[in-house]
Protein backbone atom coordinates (compact mmCIF):
# COMPACT_ATOMS: atom_id res chain seq x y z
CA UNK A 1 0.00 0.00 0.00
CA UNK A 2 1.45 3.33 -0.94
CA UNK A 3 1.57 6.32 1.40
CA UNK A 4 -1.37 8.14 -0.19
CA UNK A 5 -3.62 5.12 0.22
CA UNK A 6 -2.50 4.65 3.81
CA UNK A 7 -3.22 8.31 4.66
CA UNK A 8 -6.65 8.17 3.03
CA UNK A 9 -7.50 4.92 4.84
CA UNK A 10 -6.58 6.57 8.16
CA UNK A 11 -8.59 9.65 7.25
CA UNK A 12 -11.61 7.51 6.37
CA UNK A 13 -11.27 5.54 9.61
CA UNK A 14 -11.20 8.64 11.81
CA UNK A 15 -13.83 10.54 9.86
CA UNK A 16 -16.32 7.68 10.16
CA UNK A 17 -15.79 7.61 13.94
CA UNK A 18 -15.59 11.30 14.81
CA UNK A 19 -17.37 13.23 12.05
CA UNK A 20 -21.05 13.17 11.27
CA UNK A 21 -21.93 13.95 7.66
CA UNK A 22 -25.27 15.60 7.11
CA UNK A 23 -26.39 14.51 3.68
CA UNK A 24 -29.69 15.60 2.21
CA UNK A 25 -32.20 12.80 2.33
CA UNK A 26 -34.18 12.28 -0.86
CA UNK A 27 -37.90 12.77 -0.49
CA UNK A 28 -38.97 13.42 -4.06
CA UNK A 29 -39.79 9.90 -5.20
CA UNK A 30 -43.26 8.44 -4.82
CA UNK A 31 -42.09 5.55 -2.61
CA UNK A 32 -40.67 8.16 -0.23
CA UNK A 33 -43.85 10.24 -0.25
CA UNK A 34 -44.53 11.11 3.34
CA UNK A 35 -47.55 13.40 3.36
CA UNK A 36 -49.92 13.00 6.32
CA UNK A 37 -52.99 14.05 4.29
CA UNK A 38 -52.20 11.33 1.75
CA UNK A 39 -51.64 8.72 4.46
CA UNK A 40 -55.04 9.45 5.98
CA UNK A 41 -56.86 8.65 2.72
CA UNK A 42 -58.30 5.19 2.14
CA UNK A 43 -56.32 2.89 -0.14
CA UNK A 44 -58.88 3.41 -2.89
CA UNK A 45 -58.64 7.21 -2.57
CA UNK A 46 -54.84 7.00 -2.57
CA UNK A 47 -55.02 5.04 -5.82
CA UNK A 48 -57.30 7.66 -7.39
CA UNK A 49 -54.95 10.48 -6.40
CA UNK A 50 -51.93 8.61 -7.81
CA UNK A 51 -53.80 8.00 -11.07
CA UNK A 52 -54.89 11.67 -11.29
CA UNK A 53 -51.32 12.76 -10.69
CA UNK A 54 -50.05 10.41 -13.38
CA UNK A 55 -52.68 11.57 -15.87
CA UNK A 56 -51.68 15.20 -15.28
CA UNK A 57 -48.01 14.32 -15.75
CA UNK A 58 -48.72 12.53 -19.04
CA UNK A 59 -50.95 15.39 -20.26
CA UNK A 60 -48.27 18.00 -19.48
CA UNK A 61 -45.59 15.89 -21.08
Amino acid sequence: MNMKRFILKCRLFFSTIFVRYDQKQEKGFIYEFDDDRFKKLSLEEQGIQVQKNWNKYMKDK
Binding site: K9, Q23, G47
Partner: protein
Protein backbone atom coordinates in the same frame (compact mmCIF):
# COMPACT_ATOMS: atom_id res chain seq x y z
CA UNK B 1 -26.12 30.43 -30.52
CA UNK B 2 -25.46 31.35 -34.16
CA UNK B 3 -24.75 28.48 -36.52
CA UNK B 4 -21.75 30.39 -37.82
CA UNK B 5 -20.39 31.71 -34.54
CA UNK B 6 -16.61 31.75 -34.34
CA UNK B 7 -16.64 31.74 -30.58
CA UNK B 8 -15.17 28.73 -28.84
CA UNK B 9 -17.57 26.11 -27.56
CA UNK B 10 -18.25 25.23 -23.95
CA UNK B 11 -19.36 21.58 -24.07
CA UNK B 12 -21.01 20.24 -20.95
CA UNK B 13 -22.84 17.09 -19.94
CA UNK B 14 -24.45 15.74 -16.80
CA UNK B 15 -27.75 14.80 -15.21
CA UNK B 16 -30.56 17.01 -13.89
CA UNK B 17 -27.97 19.25 -12.20
CA UNK B 18 -26.76 20.20 -15.71
CA UNK B 19 -29.92 19.97 -17.81
CA UNK B 20 -32.65 22.61 -17.51
CA UNK B 21 -34.44 20.82 -14.67
CA UNK B 22 -36.78 23.75 -13.92
CA UNK B 23 -38.02 23.73 -17.52
CA UNK B 24 -38.51 19.95 -17.41
CA UNK B 25 -40.57 20.27 -14.24
CA UNK B 26 -42.54 23.21 -15.64
CA UNK B 27 -41.23 25.53 -12.94
CA UNK B 28 -40.19 29.15 -13.36
CA UNK B 29 -37.07 29.15 -15.53
CA UNK B 30 -33.76 30.85 -14.80
CA UNK B 31 -30.26 30.76 -16.33
CA UNK B 32 -28.59 27.44 -15.58
CA UNK B 33 -24.90 27.10 -14.68
CA UNK B 34 -23.85 26.18 -18.21
CA UNK B 35 -25.38 29.35 -19.61
CA UNK B 36 -23.86 31.53 -16.88
CA UNK B 37 -20.43 29.96 -17.35
CA UNK B 38 -20.57 30.32 -21.14
CA UNK B 39 -21.41 34.00 -20.73
CA UNK B 40 -18.51 34.56 -18.33
CA UNK B 41 -16.06 32.74 -20.61
CA UNK B 42 -17.47 34.33 -23.79
CA UNK B 43 -18.14 30.93 -25.35
CA UNK B 44 -21.13 29.28 -27.03
CA UNK B 45 -22.80 26.61 -24.92
CA UNK B 46 -23.43 23.07 -26.10
CA UNK B 47 -25.35 21.41 -23.28
CA UNK B 48 -25.57 17.64 -23.74
CA UNK B 49 -26.84 16.99 -20.22
CA UNK B 50 -30.21 15.34 -19.72
CA UNK B 51 -32.26 14.73 -16.59
CA UNK B 52 -31.65 11.18 -15.41
CA UNK B 53 -28.40 10.64 -17.30
CA UNK B 54 -26.04 8.01 -15.96
CA UNK B 55 -22.25 8.25 -16.16
CA UNK B 56 -21.99 6.08 -19.27
CA UNK B 57 -24.30 8.45 -21.15
CA UNK B 58 -22.42 11.49 -19.84
CA UNK B 59 -19.08 10.06 -20.96
CA UNK B 60 -20.25 9.02 -24.42
CA UNK B 61 -22.21 12.21 -25.12
CA UNK B 62 -19.08 14.23 -24.34
CA UNK B 63 -16.49 12.14 -26.16
CA UNK B 64 -18.57 11.91 -29.34
CA UNK B 65 -18.92 15.71 -29.41
CA UNK B 66 -15.26 16.32 -28.48
CA UNK B 67 -13.85 14.10 -31.21
CA UNK B 68 -15.79 15.75 -34.03
CA UNK B 69 -14.97 19.37 -33.12
CA UNK B 70 -11.96 21.61 -33.44
CA UNK B 71 -13.39 24.75 -31.82
CA UNK B 72 -13.58 23.64 -28.20
CA UNK B 73 -12.89 26.18 -25.46
CA UNK B 74 -13.75 24.03 -22.46
CA UNK B 75 -15.30 20.65 -21.68
CA UNK B 76 -17.10 20.13 -18.37
CA UNK B 77 -18.40 16.82 -17.04
CA UNK B 78 -20.68 16.84 -14.02
CA UNK B 79 -20.99 13.22 -13.00
CA UNK B 80 -24.12 11.52 -11.73
CA UNK B 81 -25.01 8.59 -9.45
CA UNK B 82 -22.63 5.68 -10.02
CA UNK B 83 -25.34 2.99 -9.98
CA UNK B 84 -27.45 4.43 -12.79
CA UNK B 85 -27.41 2.29 -15.92
CA UNK B 86 -27.42 3.73 -19.44
CA UNK B 87 -28.51 2.12 -22.70
CA UNK B 88 -28.12 3.58 -26.18
CA UNK B 89 -31.58 3.67 -27.73
CA UNK B 90 -31.49 6.22 -30.56
CA UNK B 91 -35.23 6.92 -30.33
CA UNK B 92 -37.04 8.96 -32.95
CA UNK B 93 -37.42 12.68 -32.12
CA UNK B 94 -40.42 13.48 -29.95
CA UNK B 95 -42.32 16.64 -30.90
CA UNK B 96 -43.80 18.19 -27.79
CA UNK B 97 -46.96 20.31 -27.59
CA UNK B 98 -44.95 23.43 -26.71
CA UNK B 99 -42.90 23.11 -29.91
CA UNK B 100 -39.82 21.60 -28.28
CA UNK B 101 -38.17 18.71 -30.06
CA UNK B 102 -36.85 16.06 -27.69
CA UNK B 103 -34.36 13.53 -29.03
CA UNK B 104 -33.51 10.75 -26.64
CA UNK B 105 -30.31 8.89 -27.45
CA UNK B 106 -29.90 7.32 -24.04
CA UNK B 107 -32.26 5.54 -21.72
CA UNK B 108 -30.92 5.81 -18.20
CA UNK B 109 -32.35 4.68 -14.89
CA UNK B 110 -31.43 3.58 -11.40
CA UNK B 111 -32.49 -0.09 -11.09
CA UNK B 112 -33.16 0.09 -7.36
CA UNK B 113 -35.48 3.08 -7.82
CA UNK B 114 -37.41 1.33 -10.61
CA UNK B 115 -37.99 -1.70 -8.38
CA UNK B 116 -38.91 0.37 -5.31
CA UNK B 117 -41.31 2.44 -7.37
CA UNK B 118 -43.01 -0.65 -8.81
CA UNK B 119 -43.27 -2.34 -5.40
CA UNK B 120 -44.77 0.79 -3.84
CA UNK B 121 -47.64 0.56 -6.35
CA UNK B 122 -48.36 -3.10 -5.45
CA UNK B 123 -50.93 -2.08 -2.83
CA UNK B 124 -53.26 -0.69 -5.50
CA UNK B 125 -53.54 -3.98 -7.38
CA UNK B 126 -55.47 -6.95 -6.07
CA UNK B 127 -55.04 -10.30 -7.88
CA UNK B 128 -55.82 -11.13 -10.64
CA UNK B 129 -55.06 -7.49 -11.53
CA UNK B 130 -51.42 -7.04 -12.46
CA UNK B 131 -49.29 -4.11 -11.35
CA UNK B 132 -48.48 -2.38 -14.65
CA UNK B 133 -45.39 -0.89 -13.05
CA UNK B 134 -44.02 -4.42 -12.93
CA UNK B 135 -43.86 -4.78 -16.67
CA UNK B 136 -41.72 -3.33 -19.40
CA UNK B 137 -38.07 -3.45 -20.31
CA UNK B 138 -36.84 -1.07 -17.59
CA UNK B 139 -38.46 -3.13 -14.85
CA UNK B 140 -37.32 -6.46 -16.30
CA UNK B 141 -33.72 -5.24 -16.61
CA UNK B 142 -33.80 -3.72 -13.14
CA UNK B 143 -35.05 -6.94 -11.54
CA UNK B 144 -32.48 -9.02 -13.42
CA UNK B 145 -29.63 -6.72 -12.41
CA UNK B 146 -30.71 -6.64 -8.78
CA UNK B 147 -31.31 -10.38 -8.52
CA UNK B 148 -27.81 -11.10 -9.80
CA UNK B 149 -26.20 -8.27 -7.77
CA UNK B 150 -25.03 -6.62 -10.97
CA UNK B 151 -26.06 -3.14 -9.85
CA UNK B 152 -23.93 -3.09 -6.72
CA UNK B 153 -21.81 -0.15 -5.60
CA UNK B 154 -18.56 -1.85 -6.60
CA UNK B 155 -19.43 -2.26 -10.27
CA UNK B 156 -20.90 1.24 -10.44
CA UNK B 157 -17.79 2.80 -8.92
CA UNK B 158 -15.40 0.83 -11.13
CA UNK B 159 -17.27 1.78 -14.29
CA UNK B 160 -17.64 5.43 -13.32
CA UNK B 161 -14.00 5.91 -12.31
CA UNK B 162 -13.00 4.40 -15.64
CA UNK B 163 -15.13 6.96 -17.51
CA UNK B 164 -13.72 9.82 -15.45
CA UNK B 165 -10.13 8.84 -16.17
CA UNK B 166 -10.87 8.10 -19.83
CA UNK B 167 -12.40 11.56 -20.29
CA UNK B 168 -9.37 13.18 -18.67
CA UNK B 169 -7.05 11.19 -20.94
CA UNK B 170 -8.97 12.04 -24.13
CA UNK B 171 -8.96 15.74 -23.29
CA UNK B 172 -5.25 15.72 -22.45
CA UNK B 173 -4.43 13.81 -25.61
CA UNK B 174 -6.27 16.41 -27.70
CA UNK B 175 -5.07 19.41 -25.67
CA UNK B 176 -8.60 20.35 -24.69
CA UNK B 177 -9.17 22.38 -21.51
CA UNK B 178 -11.47 20.38 -19.26
CA UNK B 179 -13.00 20.26 -15.80
CA UNK B 180 -14.82 17.48 -13.98
CA UNK B 181 -16.83 17.34 -10.78
CA UNK B 182 -19.25 14.99 -9.06
CA UNK B 183 -22.67 16.68 -9.32
CA UNK B 184 -25.39 14.98 -7.29
CA UNK B 185 -24.51 12.61 -4.45
CA UNK B 186 -22.79 9.57 -6.00
CA UNK B 187 -25.03 7.07 -4.17
CA UNK B 188 -28.79 6.92 -3.84
CA UNK B 189 -29.95 8.58 -0.62
CA UNK B 190 -30.65 6.12 2.19
CA UNK B 191 -31.40 6.50 5.86
CA UNK B 192 -28.79 5.93 8.50
CA UNK B 193 -27.01 3.66 9.38
CA UNK B 194 -27.09 2.14 5.89
CA UNK B 195 -25.98 5.37 4.25
CA UNK B 196 -22.76 5.55 6.28
CA UNK B 197 -21.96 1.90 5.58
CA UNK B 198 -22.45 2.40 1.84
CA UNK B 199 -20.34 5.56 1.72
CA UNK B 200 -17.56 3.80 3.63
CA UNK B 201 -17.56 1.11 0.95
CA UNK B 202 -17.65 3.80 -1.74
CA UNK B 203 -14.61 5.57 -0.22
CA UNK B 204 -12.67 2.32 0.14
CA UNK B 205 -13.31 1.47 -3.50
CA UNK B 206 -11.92 4.86 -4.57
CA UNK B 207 -8.88 4.55 -2.31
CA UNK B 208 -8.07 1.07 -3.56
CA UNK B 209 -8.68 1.90 -7.22
CA UNK B 210 -5.78 2.48 -9.63
CA UNK B 211 -7.24 5.93 -10.34
CA UNK B 212 -6.70 7.40 -6.88
CA UNK B 213 -3.45 9.17 -7.79
CA UNK B 214 -4.17 9.53 -11.52
CA UNK B 215 -6.80 12.26 -11.43
CA UNK B 216 -5.43 15.76 -11.96
CA UNK B 217 -6.42 19.11 -10.44
CA UNK B 218 -8.94 19.43 -13.28
CA UNK B 219 -11.16 17.05 -11.30
CA UNK B 220 -12.63 19.52 -8.83
CA UNK B 221 -13.29 17.92 -5.47
CA UNK B 222 -11.37 14.71 -6.14
CA UNK B 223 -11.60 12.15 -4.48
CA UNK B 224 -15.31 13.04 -4.45
CA UNK B 225 -16.29 12.27 -0.84
CA UNK B 226 -15.73 14.54 2.20
CA UNK B 227 -14.70 11.54 4.34
CA UNK B 228 -11.50 11.28 2.32
CA UNK B 229 -10.94 14.96 1.65
CA UNK B 230 -12.98 15.41 -1.52
CA UNK B 231 -16.41 16.81 -2.29
CA UNK B 232 -19.27 16.79 -4.74
CA UNK B 233 -21.05 19.96 -5.82
CA UNK B 234 -24.11 18.69 -3.92
CA UNK B 235 -22.14 18.52 -0.67
CA UNK B 236 -21.28 22.21 -1.12
CA UNK B 237 -24.86 23.36 -1.70
CA UNK B 238 -26.58 25.00 1.25
CA UNK B 239 -30.35 25.07 1.86
CA UNK B 240 -30.63 28.46 0.13
CA UNK B 241 -29.17 26.86 -3.02
CA UNK B 242 -31.93 24.22 -3.27
CA UNK B 243 -35.58 24.29 -4.35
CA UNK B 244 -36.95 22.78 -1.13
CA UNK B 245 -36.26 20.05 1.46
CA UNK B 246 -38.25 17.64 -0.77
CA UNK B 247 -36.64 18.70 -4.03
CA UNK B 248 -32.96 19.21 -3.33
CA UNK B 249 -31.97 20.12 -6.90
CA UNK B 250 -30.06 23.41 -7.24
CA UNK B 251 -32.30 26.48 -7.65
CA UNK B 252 -31.33 29.77 -9.31
CA UNK B 253 -28.88 30.65 -6.52
CA UNK B 254 -27.49 27.12 -6.66
CA UNK B 255 -26.80 27.33 -10.38
CA UNK B 256 -25.13 30.72 -9.93
CA UNK B 257 -22.96 29.22 -7.20
CA UNK B 258 -22.01 26.24 -9.41
CA UNK B 259 -21.05 28.52 -12.31
CA UNK B 260 -18.79 30.49 -9.95
CA UNK B 261 -17.09 27.30 -8.75
CA UNK B 262 -16.28 26.33 -12.34
CA UNK B 263 -15.23 29.83 -13.33
CA UNK B 264 -12.83 30.14 -10.39
CA UNK B 265 -11.25 26.76 -11.12
CA UNK B 266 -10.98 27.54 -14.83
CA UNK B 267 -9.20 30.81 -14.04
CA UNK B 268 -6.89 29.06 -11.58
CA UNK B 269 -5.92 26.26 -13.96
CA UNK B 270 -6.07 27.73 -17.46
CA UNK B 271 -5.46 31.48 -17.15
Amino acid sequence: MSLFSKRKKLIISGCSYTDNYAKQQKMKEFPIWGELLAEKLDMDLINLGKCGFGNKAIYHSLTEEILKRKDIGLVVAMWSEVQRVSFFVDDKPLYRKNGDVYKNDWDCFHPERIVLDAEWHDKFYKPPMKNIKKSGLKYDISVALRNKFLDDIKSGVKESLGYMYALQSICELNNIPHLQIQGCQPLMGKGEPLQSVQYKEFCNLIIESPYIDKMKETFIGWPVDPRIGGYSIDSKLEDKHRFSPEDTHPNEKGHKYISEVFYDEYEKIYS
